[in-house]
Symmetry: C2
Subunit: 200 residues, 2 copies
Amino acid sequence: MRISELSRTTGVPVATVKYYLREGLLPPGLQTSATQATYGEHHVERLRLIRALVEVGGLSIAAVRDVLGCLDDEGHTLHRALGAAHGALPPHADQGVDSTPARELVDALGWRVHDSAPALRQLARAMSALEAVGMPLDRLETYAQAAHAVAEADVATVPGASRAEAVRNAVVGTVLYEPVLLALRRLAQEDVSARWFGAG
Amino acid sequence: MRISELSRTTGVPVATVKYYLREGLLPPGLQTSATQATYGEHHVERLRLIRALVEVGGLSIAAVRDVLGCLDDEGHTLHRALGAAHGALPPHADQGVDSTPARELVDALGWRVHDSAPALRQLARAMSALEAVGMPLDRLETYAQAAHAVAEADVATVPGASRAEAVRNAVVGTVLYEPVLLALRRLAQEDVSARWFGAG
């Protein structure tokens, strides 16, 4: 298909498609003349993925490029692809954050987590913010159990899926299921609050 | 204390403190002369809360004002304060999003959620993004159970806490525990992946 049809099919403006081509997020089409190229189903899928990562995942173009790189690098195991994706994703907590309280929590849980995991600093920063405003940290164990349950669903490979599908499922799911989890938490809060305190 | 000491105690620059005073996020101090005012412990706590909401919660000044308004309005029940806070918080999903798939999921779960809940549109938007990129929606039930478990911890009132403390605990916790949940999920993903696929 021509670039105009690629744009119509995906709802992404032609100028934006050209921008993604220039930025290398989208592989070039097959050149059919000096000024025209043709695009295939792979381009449609990749465009939809870029839009979802940008619009729903809230990623920058640089972060999208890094995440797509994790999917495209066939040399990565699933474990390494997931680690590379975590490194590419915001929020980027300062190197200066002391991750000790998070490390201690993770060790107490018996989780196998490398010291270089960016999420350790993200967690330590959030814990320190809670302490600074005098919020109790008593929910951490409940949170950790819930997080582990969803992580098992995230990393579970569908039987018969290829390596590429398994990596895509884990890496893309890490980004796109975050807003699902946060929205469900707020809806559940409303349910709990309605039951305990009355919907009024 | 003077504004300079308030600044030193909280680590917030004097210019920023003055900005929050002008924006009405921080109540005025007690005027001691035409050019000086004195501030108390309440100002220290409020400043720390504002910084945590901005820096860790990622809220805009407008959203912080709305969230603080929910805490300060003594007329709200906990249920209404939580609903008002949800309305004030990002992400603000388009009114145009069809929330039907999210409504159906919530109904299937038996949750008591009002049609006007912004999180319904947030959830529907995220579900639609997952479908657009061909990601399976088979994790939703696991996610819903985990979300409900953390929501119960979020809304639980500490025995003996005042209404103001209970509201603060629920509203501030809604914002500040989000990064905790997301960081724990990534750490748990690393643990699950290390166990199942080897840390390499």
